[in-house]
Structure formats: structure tokens, C-alpha cells
Symmetry: C2
Subunit: 496 residues, 2 copies
């Protein structure tokens, strides 16, 4: 019996091989390419053990967020001790915010580096979804790169989930290089979004493989929704601005685009697909979202490089069907490379990320509601924000039917400092903050981006700061910094 | 008459060539290598014009901070409109915090990039201190690299200040490469702190040179002070921790050291010089401070690479005298290279920077007192903090005779987010935050780093947050976030 056949078992059997206290290194990034059978079997096992009064918790490291059958099931089974570096699941979020699950929200591009250098412990068991297993000990990853190469290398034990639905659709898509570790590391020779610098298959130590479990599941990505008016408006403002910068000679041709996750980011890509003046573009991003497909179908996509191919079920089927024709347009990298500060800076990336809230001085919160309650996490935005050639943060100007202004006197949590942000865009307008001092930034953001209902209270906060703050460099009065947030927490509205 | 002789004039004559509204691109970084004659002549001119009722202000771009005869004189003459990207001068600070001088506090490693890509306007006049001018149109910079190559290239007019005191002491020290601009930029082939990738002399367009002014001044650096007990204590804790990490196999040999500016950072280098167990080390930093000299004299310095050689007057004299022997140990780079995220990450840097205040969740404020009043600026710390292999933020646990705790429930300004910090050190102890969730970080920082007088109020703030914050992920109650700061602003003390 060959090594593959001898390791094949069902999910429950594989779950039995995982012990209380194990650190699991999972494949998967924004619901693409995570293991779909073993985690839910593990959740069932944990539940059973808990009913017997036994302690059973594991730590979960991943690429980024995984599906509800993984993050959700394990959270509901109270089987997660620590989760790192990103999530977007309702059940898991509840555990994090109730204090029952510890969560470390980390730069996604640095997670693998932290593991490889020993700054955080190595996973004890890697659970990796693959699309192919070769008899010679090489595997093909599935729909995301994530930290899979790192976890396969660092973990003592490996469980492979073999997604048989994918067939050969993921072959030749991956580029599995990792940056060298310091000291004296050489740079990755990536000069264009499509440059390949590694192998598409990963050679693993077959002696470490303790189980192979088949699945034929889909990535549980929600169906694609056409952009709404507000998102489309934001997308068009960005395209207008890019054309303006090009016309001023400040944006050379050949830059690559990065767009974050979510409906506003999707809307930008849709606006690009619908823009006849825009030529063929390359994408160098973290998550290749569904809105890339319209670009591809219109012949406007050069290459899309990312670490995850996050598609709805319908689009997943379409991808498998058309993969032979489409795959030359895609490169899936390990997330240390898709989010590499070095490569981002050298390629020249036009970066577009969604903010949870921004403040009038230029700081951005992308993770914590009211400074304490985790939404998803910082994700990879920080490396793009700091190292991009041109950087946008996008948000509708208000949320919850106008109860909340996305623009506040001071963000309740800082994920991107005033030093790392360039341009804010809402459906109201666009504020180019480059070369402006704090007070000038504040006046421009209020004028261009704030919702009309909030222009006055925001201006009041600024004027109060100019009168009462200790210094006028960044005129923030600490006594009133969170007045709008505190009112919202008390009354459900930021305004009286 | 050759081109050099024909341009030589006195400082007052050169100052006449500068117009109201000019943007001056100055050499100089942390008081090393700034122009010493023209700025003060310009301040005198501005004062005279103001007395005549004329408007006269210029914008000042630099490497980083310059001496009082430059930043100070121009600030006192009310001749500065906008200052960017860093300063440390009392008069200038006063103008910034009173709102009369606009100030943009930017990542020092990115300033040149912003100018070269047009994100901020190019200087109209470059005023650059040089140590040598060759008839063939090449110059040798003086004691700092800064953004001088960028400003010499981008400005339409050039004024050279020829520091005749320096003789040949700065020849062969500089390495004047700049990173290529995107798209498709190639990386700088720097793999060790001492690697040279450019020319030591800069070729300039001699047609742009409108004046050459001689000076024989010293960089106005304050005399070196031996470290006090608290700083020494912090330095020794860091060395102990580095040895611990090495013993655990988490820190390969061959990493380079970076140390920030100030007495605590100096103390770390002094502790290294006094440590007999420590072998020869390389330094890859922004500012090469005087405390590097003891390492050099004890034969423990391989190479010190930086963008500024910031020495007291006595040490400047010593350097000129010994430069023939010493210069092989020094490389002065442009600040886009000394602070390059790419090079920092690939070299593997052990980074040590001073914080103004830190909070229990891991955020660091390095620039703003009580969230609004500018001290100096963020400097280059952010690129080192995010991209280093091992990163320390250092601060004495209290300031102002115990009235202020450097550890607070929430920093009043965020320069480095919780995602970018690793290890906090005070004279009380050291907290390794890697792999810890927010609550665990808080408990460890309070236990290890806080001053005994503040352990209880900080714990109270954390417990209050765990009870009252919207979420427990990062248990910060916004209503009490700045309670200690607000009490300090009211009473002069953070405690009741």
C-alpha cells in the first residue's frame, strides 16, 4: 500500500489524533482553502469530551479567516483557547468579545515570519487543504496560499484534507516561495505582479503525514452582490482621482492594484471593469475577490496575484470549469509574499482598503468597535497602507442608518496612524491628505468626506481642541476625544 | 574663474537669493551635517523684512532635526511656514504647538520617496552642507546623508555650504545610493550592515549652484553624558534578554543593532561596550550616536551604518583627527536606505527605541504629550519597530519625579500600534508581549514594567475595562481611557 492510501481515513478518525493543547496550523485565508472536514469533526469530539467533563481546547493558527464549519464550529464547541492572526466568524467573534477566547490580531504578512523565527510557538499539527497529492510526496494547495508552506514545514504532524472537487484546477496557480530569513536574507526577485519565483507544488515530509481525509466541499463564501449606489460612488471617485494623478504625472503607468475585502472594495473593481478608458491592469493583492472576474471576462486583467481566491459557490464552479483558460491570469502566493512590504514598495501598488472609522486627523480604525469589541482584525491592510505608492481608505460616511458617523474626532482604536494614511474617500467626497498638517487635514476631511449631519459636531470638536488642547499641533482635547462614541454607547446615536 | 570660485559668496548674499514662499531642502539629520551659515543669515533677513512690513516665510524640508542656528533661528524669526519631517528644537516646537508653524511629522525613511514621487512638492532651493567640492562637479556630503541626494536632484537651485573644518574626514564614508522608484524597482543589494551599493561622492548639476558659502562650524550637539542608573539598568536588562533569546535558539548570530536617539539608547550601547561576553557587533541604524565610539575603541565595532554621525563637539574633533583609521567602520547612507523596511527586514535588526509613553495593551506614543503637544516627532522608529527581528521600546517607568507614569491605560497618541511592538523595558523590568492577547499583555506590562506607585491604578483601569468596555477583546473603557492624562492636565499629577 502506498503512503497515500495508507493514510486515508475519515474525519472523525483524524480528529482523534488531535490532543488537548495542540496548536493547529490551518490552511485557509478569507474563507478560501481551509480544511472542511476535520475541524467540524474535531468540534464534535470536543463537545463529547466536554460532556464527559474532560478539558479539550486547541490553539488555532491560520492564514486568515476560515469558514463557519471550521472557526464557527470550533468556537461553538468551546474548543478554542487562542486564535491567531485573523477571523471573521460570528460565533468566534462572540467568544473573543466575551473574553472566553483569546485572540491575537496580527499583521497577516508577518504571521509566518513569527512562527518561522520562534517568536510564537510552531503549530504541533498542520491541517492543510490540498487539491492534489502526488505519490512522490508533493502536494498542490487548494484555493489559498496562506501560511501553509510554513505550517507544513514547522509542524511535527500533518493532516491533509484532499478536496477532490478541485481536480487539476489549482495546478500551476501557486507560487510557493517564502522570503529568506535574516540575517543576510536575499530579496525575492518579484518585479511585476505576475513574476513567479518558486515552485507551484510543495514537497512535504511524508513521514509527518498522520492522516489524509477527503472532502468535496465548497469554500463557504457568501454569494456575490452587485455594488450599491454608495459603494459605486466611492469606486468612481477613486478612478477619477487616479486619472487626475496620472494627468499630473504623479502616477507612472504599470502600477499594480490592491483592493481589500468587502463590498466597497468589490465596487471599486466593478467600477474598473465598467470603465472603458481604463486599459489592462495587474492586481497585486491579498484576496482576489469575485469582482476580479468581470475584469478577466472583459479582457482587462493582466495578472491577479494574491494569497486567496475567494469566490462564491457559483464562481467556484465556474473557475473549476474554466481553469485551463483562466489560470495563466492568477498567481496564489504565500501570505508572507502577497503582503511583503518589500515587494509592495518595489512594485508600486495603488492600495484601497476599507476603514471601520477614520478620524479628522488621519488615523484609521479597521478592527475594533468602540475601542474594545473586535470586528475581524487588522488583516493585511497595514503593509499595503504604509508601503503603497498611492493609498486610499474607504468608508461610507455614516453607518446604522445615520446613527454613527464613520468620521469621528478621534478613532477609538488606531490600526493605521496618521503617518500611514494618504487619501480618505466616502460617498460624500475625497480628501487627499498628503502634504497637509493635522489641522489642515481635519478641515479637509470634514469638508469633503463627512456626512452633512456631522460636519458641525466635527467642526465643533476641532475648534474645541484648538482652544483647549495642550498643544495645537494635533488639536485634540482628551476630555472630549470619545464624546461621540460614549454618547453612542449610552443612547445608540452619536448625536444628541 | 572656475565654477566653484565664481559661486563663492558670504551667507548674507546667499540668503538674498532665497525668496518668500521658497521650499528649502536642507541637509542635516539629528543635528549632524545641517547648513550652519545661510539659515541664520536668512533668519536675519526675514526679521529685517518683517520689520519693513513685508511677508517672508519659507517651508523647511530636511533630513531630520537641525541645530538651533537653523531650526531655532528661523523659528524665532517667524520665517517658517511649514516644517517637515522632524525637529527637536525648543523655539520651533513652541511655534508648532502654538499653531503658528505648520508641521508634518512623517516617517523619516519615506520623506525622500514622497518628494521624488511628487506626493509632496519638491524643494525649490536645496541648501546642503558638504565637506568637499571637486572641480568636476562632484561633492562630498558632511556628517549626515539625510535626503541630500534627493534634494540636490529635485531642487531647481542649489546653495552649498562648504564646511572647511572637516577636510577629508568624510571622504569614503558616504554610500549615496537611493532605492529605485516603482514600478518594477529592483531591490538594493545590501545583505550586511557594511555593504556599499553606491558612490561616496554625489555628482550635481553645477548650473543649478547659485552660491557656495564657507563655514567652519561644529554640529551643535550637546556634550555626551555618562548614562544614569536607570538607563544603565534598562540597557543591562536588554542585553540579558538578548542572551536569553540566543540561548533558546531564537536569535541567530549576525543580526545588526539599531538604537534610537537619547540617553536611554546611549546607555544600551554603553552597556554593550562594557559587556565582555559580547563579541564584535554591526550596527544598522538611523543615527550613529557618540556611544558607538566606546565600542569602536574597544575593538568591538564591526561596521556602524546610519544616516547621521551625531557627535559632541569634542568627539567631532576626535573624529576628524582619527578619521583615516576610523572611517572603514562607518557608512553614511541616504535616509531612504538607512531606514529601508526592506533592508531592515532582510538584515535582521535588533531594534531599541525610546517611547514617550506606552499603554498596557502594547501601543506606543513617541511624539505627542497629552495627545496634542508635539515633542519631536515619530522619527524613523516605525520602520524599525515593524520590520525588525527583535524590537524593544524603552522608557523609565515614571517621569517628572513620579508625577507621570510612562505606562498608562491608553496612550494619548498612537505612533506604533499594538501590532508593531514586541518588548517593553523599564528600569522595573521587561515584558515580552509576543504571542500574548491584549488582556495578557496588560497584566504582564503592569507586573513587570509599571512603577510600584502605579500598579494599582493601572490594574483598576484594566478591571474596570473588563467590566464596562463594549467588548473584552481589548478591555478599554472609553469613558476612562484618558482619566490619568486628564488628571495630570488639571493637577500636574496623574494620581489623585
Amino acid at each position: 500500500m502506498d503512503w497515500i492510501t495508507s493514510r486515508i481515513c475519515d474525519a472523525a478518525t483524524a480528529a482523534e489524533m488531535i490532543q488537548d493543547g495542540d496548536i493547529l496550523g490551518l490552511s485557509g485565508f478569507t474563507l478560501a482553502g481551509y480544511p472542511k472536514a476535520v475541524p467540524s469533526a474535531l468540534a464534535a469530539r470536543a463537545q463529547k469530551l466536554h460532556e464527559q467533563g474532560q478539558h479539550f481546547k486547541v490553539d488555532l493558527f491560520s492564514g486568515a479567516s476560515t469558514g463557519d464549519s471550521c472557526d464557527g464550529a470550533l468556537a461553538r464547541a468551546e474548543a478554542i483557547g487562542l486564535r491567531m492572526p485573523y477571523q471573521s466568524n460570528a460565533s468566534l467573534r462572540k467568544g473573543i468579545n466575551s473574553g472566553s477566547i483569546r485572540y491575537i490580531d496580527a499583521h497577516l504578512g508577518k504571521m509566518g515570519y513569527l512562527v518561522r523565527t520562534g517568536a510564537v510557538p510552531a503549530p504541533t499539527v498542520a491541517i492543510i487543504e490540498v487539491s492534489a497529492i502526488l505519490p512522490d510526496g508533493r502536494i498542490c494547495l487548494s484555493t489559498s496560499g496562506g501560511n501553509s508552506v510554513c505550517y507544513l514545514d514547522m509542524a511535527k504532524k500533518i493532516i491533509l484534507e484532499w478536496n477532490t472537487r478541485l481536480g487539476e484546477s489549482c495546478m500551476e496557480i501557486h507560487d510557493n516561495a517564502l522570503p529568506e530569513l535574516p540575517p543576510h536574507a536575499r530579496p525575492l526577485p518579484i518585479y511585476s505582479a505576475g513574476d513567479r519565483v518558486g515552485e507551484d507544488l510543495v514537497r512535504i515530509d511524508t513521514n509527518k503525514v498522520i492522516a489524509i481525509v477527503k472532502n468535496d466541499g465548497y469554500d463557504e463564501v457568501t454569494p456575490f452582490v452587485e455594488p450599491d449606489t454608495i459603494s459605486t460612488n466611492i469606486g468612481e471617485r477613486i478612478l477619477d482621482f487616479i486619472r487626475f494623478e496620472e494627468s499630473r504625472g504623479r502616477l507612472p503607468k504599470g502600477m499594480a492594484y490592491q483592493s481589500g475585502v468587502g463590498k466597497v472594495a468589490n465596487a471599486v473593481l466593478c467600477a474598473m471593469a465598467n470603465d472603458d478608458r481604463l486599459g489592462k491592469i495587474d492586481i497585486f493583492t491579498e484576496v482576489i475577490q469575485e469582482a476580479v472576474l468581470p475584469l478577466l471576462k472583459k479582457g482587462k486583467l493582466g495578472v491577479a496575484s494574491g494569497t486567496a481566491l475567494t469566490l462564491s459557490q457559483a464562481a467556484q464552479e465556474e473557475f473549476v470549469k474554466n481553469s485551463a483558460d483562466w489560470k495563466k491570469h492568477f498567481v496564489l502566493r504565500q501570505q508572507e509574499v502577497s503582503n511583503s512590504p518589500d515587494v509592495i514598495r518595489r512594485l508600486g501598488v495603488i492600495s484601497m482598503n476599507t476603514a471601520l472609522e477614520v478620524d479628522i486627523f488621519g488615523n484609521v480604525n479597521s478592527s475594533l468597535v468602540c475601542g474594545s469589541s473586535m470586528m475581524n482584525g487588522i488583516g493585511g491592510a497595514a503593509d499595503f497602507a504604509r508601503h503603497c505608492a498611492l493609498g486610499f481608505f474607504l468608508t461610507p460616511s455614516v453607518a446604522k442608518d445615520g446613527a454613527i458617523s464613520s468620521i469621528v474626532p478621534y478613532v477609538s482604536h488606531v490600526d493605521h496612524t496618521e503617518h500611514d494614511t494618504q487619501i480618505f474617500v466616502t460617498e460624500q467626497g475625497l480628501a487627499d491628505l498628503r502634504g497637509l498638517s493635522a489641522e489642515d487635514r481635519a478641515r479637509l476631511i470634514i469638508k469633503e468626506c463627512a456626512h452633512p449631519d456631522f460636519k458641525e459636531p466635527l467642526t465643533d470638536a476641532l475648534e474645541y481642541g484648538l482652544k483647549h488642547a495642550k498643544g495645537k499641533h494635533l488639536p485634540l482635547a482628551l476630555t472630549k476625544a470619545f464624546e461621540m462614541h460614549n454618547r453612542y454607547l449610552e443612547t445608540g446615536k452619536m448625536l444628541p
